[in-house]
């Protein structure tokens, strides 16, 4: 017969075993091994890394600079130390391929009204709690469906869908660095414009290499405080600002999106400081999109950003000298249109993403002939 003590002891043991079992079982060794098959077309030697003692490597692609021991992966989940070398697991491993209007990116000053062949892999070097594409950005590559698309095929696909632009988007494109550079180079040689929609969290050397193959960049400037980047995204503001300056120096077309999330990054002082920085360090010609937040991923119980808040951000940006501030994710709002910074007349009209009428002629305002910054042809 069991004593009370024995009974309690066995109950505790049973509970402990039960509680531990799921965690032991979820360790997906099988997937990891499959992902690391040497003959897999998705696995290619990575660039921008350094060998360390004891078989570890330091990835130097982004400011996380992960030290990765043999058999492990970086924070992005897609770069792996295999037998002492760093490999990408997402070379041409495309999980999403859609045809989107370029306004959806949003890139308002790049070929308005054109279509962008939009592609993504798994992985990201941040973990923003409001990510719209968390299903791919926060997943390991082997956990999601994907197809192998060689670099040349990507351009062919874009052409067959009548897309003059390839957009590396949805997840953070820099984590597929090797594929991005290879496929963008092929695309450019075939007259297709590669653009990225990025969080700007990339180191200097790979950042410069990337800019060499791109026609435009949209950066999500998630906030203008380090605490936001640290607590909500897992990154840091300083490195993103360095990327923005690098893009500007390189002369690649740049647009900035600020997703305005109530309470978290909507303080007028913060927006003023941000827009002032953009004007002083980049250019007043860099379009800034203040877009509306809707509940997403981990932030599922927050109301949408009041339109008044977005309008205030736009007003602050104008006051600080930004020439092309927009309000985004607010269909029908008058500040989704483009107005000439010189004469103030409407030069591009937008009704959602799909109906775009542009009166820009040879990159200039049809009313006052002022040059409008952007990529128009």
């Amino acid at each position: 017969m069991l004593s009370r003590k024995e009974l309690l002891r066995s109950a505790c043991r049973a509970l402990y075993a039960g509680a531990c079992a799921p965690f032991l079982l979820t360790h997906d060794d099988a997937c990891t091994i499959m992902a690391a098959q040497p003959d897999s077309p998705f696995i290619k030697p990575a660039r921008h890394w350094k060998k360390l003692a004891g078989g570890s490597v330091r990835c130097q692609l982004c400011p996380n600079e992960c030290v990765i021991s043999a058999g492990s992966r970086g924070a992005c989940r897609v770069r792996m130390n295999l037998r002492g070398g760093l490999y990408t697991l997402v070379y041409g491993r495309l999980a999403a391929m859609h045809v989107d209007p370029i306004e959806k990116k949003p890139l308002y000053h790049v070929l308005p009204g054109s279509l962008a062949y939009s592609v993504a892999t798994a992985g990201c070097n941040m973990w923003c709690t409001f990510c719209q594409n968390w299903q791919i950005s926060q997943a390991a590559p082997e956990a999601i469906d994907a197809a192998f698309v060689p670099p040349g095929q990507l351009s062919a696909n874009a052409r067959s869908k009548r897309c003059p632009v390839i957009a590396y988007t949805y997840n953070e494109p820099s984590v597929q660095f090797e594929y991005l550079v290879d496929s963008a180079r092929v695309a450019r040689s075939r007259g297709i414009r590669p653009v990225i929609i990025s969080n700007g969290y990339i180191n200097d050397a790979p950042g410069r290499e990337l800019l060499g193959v791109l026609d435009a960049v949209k950066i999500d400037l998630k906030a203008f405080t380090n605490s936001f980047y640290a607590k909500v995204c897992g990154g840091d503001l300083h490195n993103v600002l360095k990327t923005l300056e690098r893009i500007k120096r390189n002369g690649t077309w740049l647009e900035i999106v600020v997703l305005v999330i109530p309470t978290l990054n909507d303080a007028p002082g913060e927006i003023r400081e941000m827009t002032r920085w953009v004007r002083a360090n980049l250019s007043p010609d860099v379009p800034m999109h203040f877009t509306r937040f809707h509940a997403m991923y981990r932030i599922t119980n927050l109301p949408p950003t009041p339109v008044a808040t977005l309008e205030r951000c736009r007003t602050i940006a104008r006051e600080e000298g930004i020439r092309y501030p927009y309000v985004g994710n607010v269909p029908g709002h008058r500040w989704e249109n483009t107005y000439c910074h010189s004469c103030g007349k409407q030069i591009i009209r937008r009704s959602g993403f799909y109906h775009v009428t542009s009166s820009i002629r040879n990159g200039a305002c049809p009313h006052c002939a002022t040059r409008i910054p952007g990529v128009w042809a």
Binding site: Q135, T300, P303, G332
Partner: protein, 736 residues
């Protein structure tokens, strides 16, 4: 004190304790739901926590000791309300302590843990209360003491449930309620000490109750404003839910039980759906029904267009009243074309034959079984039945951003399957919110979005939209609708869904797969440990079985032979009656809508049944226990009949029957105890009944219904009762 005066307070104390525990239980559940998201997982855990506390209190109650027991019995009715008050406001203050970022929910695992932590200590004294009560009563009543105590406490619970659902529910806040309970709890205690001069002291809490409203308002506002985006303007407890209104940068946000519902104004959010509806219209003078679309821009602008009538459905009349006051600031009165239906939509459909040209259902995602009923095949069939032959039905489901994970795909597929079976001719849109558009008339839905847009363009050229809000029509061209019909996204969805649809079951009222899949998706989304449990589903029942087996072994160790049979029977009765109540409540909810304010009424009726049953068993000669268990099985079978008929009197009759039969079991089993073991045997039976309730609540809500459906859950309960009857027969207990 003479024998008579000592016994009288015991009964009064038992009555008060029953009353307070019933009120405290409903109160704590309601307030916890306003802090945690109210899905059945959390409700199940709250119930399980409550019963676990009672189980532990009863199981580990100290041995009988006259003096100490009497002191505890007098103190318990005062301690319980104090504890309830602390738990309620501690739950509201939890977000201040961290663990939850603004705009997010607690992770599921944390919600479940916190629910347990908050409920177990509160219900512990309730379980600890019963054995000494029986023990002291046994000095007078002998082996009938168990039945007497059981009957009196159940009677108190019946009264508590009744008073809560009629008086307390939307009139008194938790401070007031617990102050009143404290006041009532002190009375027998003061009487026992025969100090009549102190009676007025017991009225002191009433003063607190009277002043509680401003105190509570400032407390809630302080806590809300530090953990939400806006400033709290109003906090109301309606019969259906706790409604919160906050103001944020000129925008009014409405919440129900802490979950965001709508904002006002919402013209930019309504614009897309407004034009989608307009493009699907078939002329003028239509009758349109809106549900879950928000009370702002969409009903207002549709009312301003040339439809004949817009019916807007809001199930909670008090919520509509609160919202309407703000709505009128942004949207002046319509010209009489907007009509508000303050009733549950499915009940409204059942009781009305009206047919609509367009029905738009934008119910919130099925985060609980209550919401799931607006995404089931049965609901879609009801909507179809209320469409005119050429009518159009639009419903919204959680969509996807560029990629469909397996969990998301299965969730959407379970709902889509029910929709597709009801509306073989349909179209879908793309986006984070997908609209499923169906019609009984195939010609109403063009194959190609381009023809829909062309048709709308032609209609607008013929008759432009006028008199609407500016932001609805400014800059609008019909091509904007292409945003809802992104070709590659729709093709991607169709390709993926067609592959898995044959292997997926449709979400239904009796098997709420949509709810279950969404809980799984949420767990995946938050990378919660709960997701690991979902992925390895057999682990949870395995742990449950081990725990139950250990408890039964423990009971067998302490009460071998007939005693064990009695314990096993008590376990089976607790399990089956609780499972039956949960199934009945869900079935009733499916037919009638939000049942929140009726739960305490159902609880009251259940308690009344227990009271009557235990009185019958104590005072009269009844059929043998196995026969009563067979009657219990028959009553459980009656639930299957109710599931197919939804006749309301049958529902109440079944609760009465199940509780009445269950109520007769305890006194009969208790009478098997020997004269020296009243205290221990009462404790053991009480503990086993509540352990059975835990298993019944948890297994039914979290496992049997989602995985197997309601009928299988009832069948499982019938098997458990049959097993108990068999155990009784084998052990020789035929009559008690």
């Amino acid at each position: 004190m003479d024998r008579r005066t000592r016994q009288l307070p015991l009964r009064a104390i038992a009555l008060v304790m029953g009353f307070s525990s019933a009120v405290a239980q409903v109160l704590v559940i309601r307030e916890l739901l306003a802090v945690f998201r109210g899905n059945e997982l959390v409700i199940g855990i709250i119930f399980a926590g409550w019963f676990a506390g009672i189980y532990l209190g009863a199981r580990f109650a100290p041995a009988a000791d006259g003096e100490r027991s009497a002191r505890f019995l007098q103190a318990a009715p005062c301690v319980l309300p104090l504890g309830a008050c602390i738990v309620v406001y501690l739950a509201h203050a939890l977000p201040l302590l961290g663990g939850r970022a603004i705009g997010s929910h607690y992770p599921l695992i944390l919600e479940m843990l916190l629910s347990l932590i908050l409920t177990v200590p509160l219900s512990l004294p309730i379980g600890r209360f019963f054995p000494p009560l029986v023990s002291l009563l046994a000095r007078e009543r002998g082996s009938a003491a168990g039945g007497t105590a059981y009957a009196i406490e159940s009677l108190g619970s019946f009264a508590g449930g009744l008073v809560f659902s009629i008086v307390f529910v939307d009139h008194i806040n938790p401070i007031g309620i617990t102050a009143l309970l404290f006041c009532i709890g002190m009375m027998p205690c003061l009487y026992a000490h025969a100090r009549a001069a102190l009676y007025p002291l017991a009225l002191l809490p009433l003063a607190i109750a009277a002043m509680s409203s401003p105190i509570e308002s400032s407390l809630l506002a302080a806590m809300w404003n530090r953990t939400h985006a806006g400033a709290l303007v109003e906090y109301h407890r309606t019969r259906h839910q706790a409604v919160q209104v906050e103001s944020q940068d000129g925008q009014i946000n409405i919440y129900g039980d802490g979950v965001f519902y709508h904002s006002l104004p919402d013209r930019h959010d309504a614009r897309g759906l407004f034009h989608l509806i307009q493009s699907l219209r078939n002329g003028t003078g239509e009758r349109v029904l809106l549900f879950g679309t928000g009370p702002g821009s969409l009903p207002y602008n549709l009312g301003k267009s040339d439809v004949a009538r817009v019916d807007y459905c809001e199930p909670d009349p008090a919520l509509w009243e609160i919202t309407d006051a703000y709505r009128r600031r942004f949207y002046p009165r319509n010209d009489g074309r907007l009509h508000v239906i303050t009733a549950d939509l499915r009940r409204y459909f059942r009781e009305n034959d009206v047919r609509y040209d367009i029905i738009v259902s934008r119910a919130a995602a099925p985060e609980n079984v209550m919401l799931n009923r607006f995404h089931t095949k049965e609901y879609f069939e009801q909507c179809r039945a209320h469409l005119k032959p050429d009518g159009v039905f639009i419903t919204a489901v959680h969509g996807f951003s560029n990629y469909l994970s397996d969990d998301l795909l299965h969730f959407i597929a379970s709902i889509y399957k029910g929709f597709r079976e009801t509306f073989p001719h349909h179209r879908i849109t793309s986006g984070d919110t997908m609209y499923l558009i169906g019609s009984p008339d195939p010609s109403r839905l063009p194959d190609d979005p381009a023809s829909l847009i062309a048709r709308y363009r032609a209609a607008l050229e013929k008759k432009p939209l006028t008199g609407l809000e500016d932001d609805i029509i400014t800059n609008f061209v019909p091509d904007e609708l292409l945003m809802s019909f992104e070709k590659t996204q729709i093709n991607y969805f169709q390709d993926k869904i067609d592959r898995i649809l044959p292997s997926v079951d449709a979400n239904s009222d009796h098997r709420p797969l949509g709810y279950w899949n969404l809980v799984k998706l949420s767990a995946y989304q938050e990378e919660s440990a709960v997701y690991s449990i979902f992925r390895h589903a057999p682990i949870v029942p395995a742990i449950g079985c081990v725990l139950v087996a250990l408890a039964l072994i423990d009971a067998r160790r302490r009460f071998p032979g007939v005693g064990f049979a009695a314990n096993a029977t008590m376990f089976a009765t607790g399990c089956a009656s609780m499972a039956a109540m949960i199934v009945l409540m869900i079935l009733y909810q499916n037919a009638n809508g939000i049942i929140y304010y009726r739960i305490s009424l159902m609880n009251a009726l259940f308690m009344f049944g227990l009271t009557a049953g235990s009185w019958l068993a104590t005072a009269h000669r009844l059929p043998s226990l196995p026969v009563r268990l067979i009657l219990l099985m028959a009553s459980l079978g009656g639930i299957l009949l109710y599931a197919s008929r939804s006749v309301e009197p049958l529902f109440w009759l079944l609760i009465a029957a199940i509780s009445l039969i269950s109520g007769t079991i305890f006194p009969s089993l208790f009478s098997l105890s020997d004269n020296d073991g009243h205290h221990a045997f009462a404790a053991s039976l009480d503990a086993m009944e509540h352990l059975g309730s835990i298993v019944g609540a948890a297994a039914t809500a979290m496992l049997l219904i989602p995985l197997l459906g309601m009928s299988s859950a009832i069948a499982a309960c019938m098997c458990i009762v049959a097993f108990a009857a068999l155990v009784l027969l084998v052990s020789g207990v035929r009559k008690a």
